[in-house]
């Protein structure tokens, strides 16, 4: 089977202002269906730039990007919008939910921009289903400011999932979360990956990268390491351990 994503010698030069910033300097990468990749690297190494290219939000200044065998590097603004809507799901670093809008309506948003019209009945059902996947169906009518950070991130994941994308892209999805909530989010990702969705995410944390199957390290706009994760962590087990540790801590604290 051909790879879903093929990057061939991708370059991205930011040329606004006096100095040019060469943020991505020739990255080639194949991603196959069902992969679960973590991209790591120092701040400013070009991870977000690479993700924006993968997410069709940005156009590379050089190289070719084949998505499903189709060259998308030279598509127009609205064609790329359609690809973002249909084939890709993007989870942004800062959640980026619409304020004063219920979780359900936030999740419905991508369906409102679908090329084919979707009935409001179907929209609601699909949005509820996506919220169930991330375990938030009961809070569908909550506004973002009534949800915790982890819950908001899960709404953002549900929104990325609702149009059934082939690839889920997440730029530092656990960046603003505490370690336990981060593990919960990784649990959601592992479940989705087990169901066949390809996932690419950026992270700064080494232990979070251990929940993925393949790790890439980027430095100064090039991939310097590309390896499979050997002793992969399973979120379910780690959560269980955390719970037991908490319970034990409570017991010892309670005993005189």
């Amino acid at each position: 089977m051909p790879p879903v994503v093929q990057l061939q010698d991708i370059h991205r030069i930011y040329a606004n202002g006096e100095v040019q910033v060469h943020a991505v300097r020739g990255i080639s990468l194949d991603i196959h269906k069902g992969e679960f990749i973590a991209i790591m690297g120092a701040s400013g190494s070009g991870k977000s730039t690479l993700m924006n290219t993968l997410g069709c939000l940005d156009r590379p200044t050089g190289g070719r990007y084949l998505l499903d065998g189709v060259d998308v590097s030279n598509l127009g603004r609205n064609e790329r919008a359609n690809i973002r809507n249909q084939k890709l799901g993007f989870v942004f670093q800062g959640f980026n939910l619409l304020a004063r809008t219920s979780a359900l309506e936030n999740v419905e948003l991508p369906m409102l921009y679908a090329p084919r019209r979707i009935s409001s009945q179907e929209m609601r059902e699909r949005a509820m289903h996506a919220l169930e996947i991330v375990g938030l169906a009961r809070r569908h009518d909550h506004l973002p400011n009534q949800l915790s950070g982890g819950q908001q991130q899960r709404v953002a994941i549900a929104r990325a999932l609702v149009n059934r994308p082939q690839i889920l892209l997440a730029d530092e999805p656990t960046g603003n979360l505490d370690s336990k909530t981060s593990v919960e989010v990784m649990g959601v990702f592992q479940k989705l990956n087990d169901e066949g969705i390809t996932i690419v995410m950026v992270t700064h944390e080494l232990d979070i990268a251990h929940y993925c199957k393949r790790n890439l390290i980027v430095r100064d706009g090039v991939i310097v390491r590309d390896e499979l994760v050997k002793d992969r962590l399973i979120a379910g087990e780690e959560l269980l351990k955390l719970h037991q540790a908490e319970a034990a801590a409570k017991l010892t604290a309670a005993s005189p």
Binding site: G55, N82, N96, L98, L109, P110, L112, Y113, R159
Partner: protein, 402 residues
């Protein structure tokens, strides 16, 4: 274009910011309300003017003393009347289509009865007066041709005189002293109220013109000739023939009279009222434009304020025309909603004015429809620039915007 979906999106966005939406629409509400209220008041005034012009009588042509041509110094109206009852008789005799004529005299006089006195205008008229001025009697009867011939001491009084001089009693049959000469009251005119010029039409005593000329004022000329035409179509012809006839009767002299017909007056008066309505409407339209600029202002601010939201929408798959349509629809919904509420406000305000001030108002359907359509147009016009600005944002930059 995803019209249905975008409408849902726009409505959701407005609902999310109820307060801002209402404040934005406020300019439109007040603008449309002002247009409708002012045009209603103007229309009411026009109706009132038409009613009071009609109260001057039916198909009336009037002859006033005074020169229209210029030769040396001219006096004011009525400065040197040469109009006589004989002129009136000649007009009635010689001009076709004249159904009634009254040589009118006007004299201020003190009237007295039951120890109560009152200063009023005494009109000398022919019995045709009631027909010419379309003015019925509420009690008694008009004096007759025979009373004119005998210069009878008989009077018909207006309602104001009845109220002031005969309070609480029936005036018909009683004696009214005019400049101390006793006249017998034979009738009371139905109340007509104030006319276009603001004078109380009921403050009047009507006597035969012969009695006025011989007994009260001792005069040989009259102030005005009132002529009634059979039909409105004949008025301009009769006006011309009256001019010719009177000119001929004053052979060789400069014309010292003016002939006016009621249609002219009605036309001038209604044109004035119409101009006033248009002026009020124009002034109020300015507030519509101000309301539109208010909408544009808020929409522009909200494009900046909502940059992140726009970034999210674009990142999730919105096309640029989806964003443009959304902001355009938001502006249009705001202004149309403002227009609809403004119509309610305008109708309410004109009703209130009618109640509080007793002014007549007439809500005009064209004004309502026009104001509503105009508010929609304003929404498109002033929503376009902000919408265009929003649609041109770059998704990544918009997302990064703080």
């Amino acid at each position: 274009m995803r019209l249905v979906a975008t409408t849902v999106i726009a409505l959701r966005a407005l609902r999310r910011n109820k307060m801002r939406s209402v404040l934005t629409a406020l300019g439109m509400i007040i603008g449309v309300g002002a247009v409708i209220a002012l045009v209603s008041i103007g229309n009411g005034a026009k109706l009132q003017v038409e009613a009071s012009v009609a109260s001057l009588g039916q198909n009336v042509i009037s002859v006033y003393p005074g020169s229209v041509s210029t030769s040396g110094a001219r006096g004011g109206w009525g400065s040197a009347s040469t109009l006589t009852p004989d002129d009136a008789l000649a007009i009635q005799r010689e001009i076709a289509g004249v159904v009634a004529v009254s040589p009118e005299t006007r004299d201020r006089a003190q009237v007295l009865a039951n120890g109560l006195n009152w200063n009023t205008t005494v009109f000398g008229e022919s019995p045709d007066f009631t027909s010419i001025r379309a003015w019925d009697l509420s009690e008694g009867a008009m004096f007759t041709e025979a009373d004119v011939r005998s210069a009878a001491k008989i009077a018909v009084i207006g309602q104001t005189i009845a109220d002031q001089v005969f309070p609480g009693s029936a005036p018909v049959g009683q004696t009214l002293r005019i400049r101390n000469i006793p006249f017998k009251v034979v009738g009371v005119l139905r109340s007509k109220g104030f006319n276009y010029f603001g004078t109380d039409q009921d403050d009047a005593v009507i006597v035969p013109y012969t009695s006025a000329m011989r007994r009260i004022a001792r005069r040989t000329t009259v102030n005005t000739l009132l002529i009634q035409a059979l039909a409105p179509e004949q008025m301009f012809r009769i006006q011309q023939e009256t001019t010719d006839l009177l000119q001929q009767r004053r052979a060789g002299r400069d014309p010292d009279f003016t002939v006016r017909n009621q249609l002219e007056l009605a036309q001038v008066a209604t044109a004035n009222a119409r101009n006033m309505t248009a002026l009020l409407g124009a002034i109020a339209s300015v507030s519509l434009i101000v309301g539109g600029i208010g909408i544009m202002n808020i929409m522009l601010v909200s494009v900046t304020e909502r940059t992140r939201e726009i970034g999210i929408r674009l990142a999730i798959g919105a096309h640029d025309h989806d964003i443009r349509l959304q902001f355009l629809l938001e502006a249009m919904v705001l202004s149309l909603m403002g227009g609809a509420l403004g119509i309610l406000l305008g109708v309410g305000a004109s009703q209130l004015v009618a109640q509080l001030n007793g002014w007549p108002t007439l809500v005009s359907m064209p004004a309502v429809i026009g104001a509503f359509l105009f508010s929609g147009a304003v929404g498109i016009l002033f929503g376009f620039y902000p919408a265009h600005k929003a649609a041109q944002l770059d998704p990544i930059e918009a997302l990064r915007f703080e």
